[in-house]
């Protein structure tokens, strides 16, 4: 699953952008140093192949539904981790731009979930270690399936964590995790089987391609320490900057407006409704301990603050509707002037 712009906060998006940019710069330098220019066109064309392969569906046994290949692990096996990461990142860029799949700010998260995990964890640590020097068919299939499962489990864990840390969706961390991991276990197995089938076909038809891929030096070490450092610094800077922007300014304004309008009494019916809602929430909350931080803050704030929020809701509705119409009118006028 692709992480979407609509579900992330600027701090999470920005931190992963920084980490991804550093990874891409590092991988580009490695590809450049190790392989001269030979691999660059190959990478691009194989990236385009991923799109072509996704046009071909297959029937998933026992379910009757159909799926298509993801391709992250396939790229890592064929091109080695560095080139594979660059190719996966470019596939994701095209998807983000042409299909709005994921999104531009979420691009960093997606490269991490779908690129770094398969290329730098599943491929070197699982696939390479299991397959050995002289791969046999059964061993190759096993290694591929396991690597695909590990890669997808980590990727889905990434999506869940990024969503929870961003705090836009209210889905509790553990519930989301319990939904996502089993689904991605199944997806991982299917992806692994499909990748193994393609790989063994290539191995039979053009063994030299696979031989070259196998001779890559074992385990591409990413400079983990500097990556983590970049990540932390970026998180602090971006997180700090945005939380100031997000909380300080508009709240101060709203507060002053509320003070000016002086609407501070709490409606009677509202407090009753709130009690009912709270008890409902109590019943509905399966996982009370994982209440979201913002929900906790909202629950803890004072009655006047809540009343103020309610009083501003009407003007928000009216003004929002009016603005919508205004935006539309500006569009129409611009269009008319064009003609």
């Amino acid at each position: 699953m692709h992480m979407a712009d609509a579900l992330i906060s600027p701090a999470v998006g920005g931190a992963f952008w920084a980490a991804t940019a550093a990874t891409i710069a590092y991988c580009s330098a490695r590809v450049r140093r190790e392989l001269d220019d030979h691999k660059v066109p190959l990478m691009g064309v194989i990236g385009a192949f991923i799109f072509a392969a996704q046009m071909i569906n297959f029937t998933i046994p026992a379910t009757g539904s159909s799926g298509h290949i993801g391709g992250g692990l396939l790229l890592a096996i064929l091109l080695g981790p560095y080139a594979a990461l660059l190719t996966i990142a470019s596939v994701l860029i095209v998807q983000a731009l042409f299909f709005a799949d994921g999104g531009l700010l979420a691009l960093g998260c997606n490269v991490f979930n779908l690129g770094v995990f398969p290329a730098f964890i599943a491929y070197p640590l699982v696939y390479k270690n299991l397959i050995g020097r002289q791969p046999k068919q059964s061993r190759m299939v096993l290694a591929t399936i396991l690597a695909a499962v590990v890669g997808l489990q980590l990727g889905s864990l990434g999506v869940v964590t990024q969503t929870a840390v961003s705090g836009i969706a209210a889905l509790p961390f553990t519930t989301f995790l319990a939904l996502m991991q089993p689904i991605h276990l199944a997806i991982g197995v299917v992806e692994g089987v499909v990748t193994a089938l393609v790989i063994s076909f290539i191995y039979r038809a053009r063994p030299e391609i696979m031989a070259a891929a196998l001779q890559h030096k074992p385990v591409g070490q990413l400079p983990i320490r500097s990556l983590v450092a970049t990540f932390l610094v970026a998180t602090l800077l971006i997180g700090g900057g945005f939380s100031w922007l997000a909380s300080e300014r508009p709240d101060g304004l709203e507060w002053s407006i509320a003070k000016l309008t002086g609407s501070e009494e709490l409606p009677e019916s509202f407090s009753q409704a709130h009690v009912v809602a709270a008890s409902l929430q109590e019943k509905a909350a399966v996982l009370k301990d994982y209440a979201l931080p913002s929900a906790a803050i909202a629950g803890a704030d004072s009655a006047p603050a809540r009343a103020e929020r309610l009083s501003t809701s009407l003007s928000g509705l009216v003004g929002g509707g009016a603005t919508l119409i205004l935006c539309f009118l500006i569009g129409v006028v611009l269009k008319k002037r064009k003609r």
């Binding site: 192949f49 799109f51 209210a170 053009r206 922007l245 407006i257 409704a273 928000g316 509705l317 929002g320």
Partner: protein
Amino acid sequence: MLAIDGTLLDFKQLDLLAMRQTAIHRLDPRAKIITTLSFIVCVVSFNRYEISAMIPFLLYPAVLLTVGELPFGYILRKIIIVIPFALVVGIFNPVFDREVLMQIGSLDVWGGWLSCLSILLRALLTASAAILLVAVTGFPAICEALEQMGMPQVFAVQLLFLYRYIFVLTDEGVRTARARELRTFGKRGLGLRQFGSLVGNLLLRTWERAERIYMAMLARGFAGQVHTRQRGHFGRNEVMFVAGWISLFVLLRCYNVPQLFGRLLTGTLP
């Protein structure tokens, strides 16, 4: 079968839109990238219950659509396709977040519904920003701009290759899929084994094609760089475009304009 061809056609059409010549299309790609990213960051930085303050941000996609002379229905269709992905997660908000944050008449509105609606609006705004960026800029121009802004050259060249061959290879993929579908009855032949050899074959053909391409390029003097025709110029128009939009975004981000507007209309403004 029609569905696959449709996807491909859709893809090509978006690419063709970038060839128009309007004031927006003529701007330097860097200006449009910077503006789009600031737009997305501003939209995403709103708190989770915010709805009204986000609405004026619709102005940016609306202006790009009209000034860029883009087909409204087509762009809208492309955006609507992706919204369900965000909504799959957002739809759980009303289940888990039931604090009453708003009242319309006697109707209580849970925070979950507000944040769900907020996610919907976010998805609409961010998706339209991404698609409109391609529609008014074009992919090669975006690559070039990113390279000028510091993206590694290896990555940029490889991205351009991917883009060039995407149309050739997806055509091939679609033809292969169609040929297989015409030869199958029911579900026979659509299974994993056939898929393996089909995609394996496609991969081999692609690999050999890539080798031929590389040889041909070497013969024509390829030295690791792709030269493009247009070199953008970041002039006064670009500065005005970027500065104008960003200051508007910051203004709209800091002041809830619809709220103030609403107060004016309902007469609660002092």
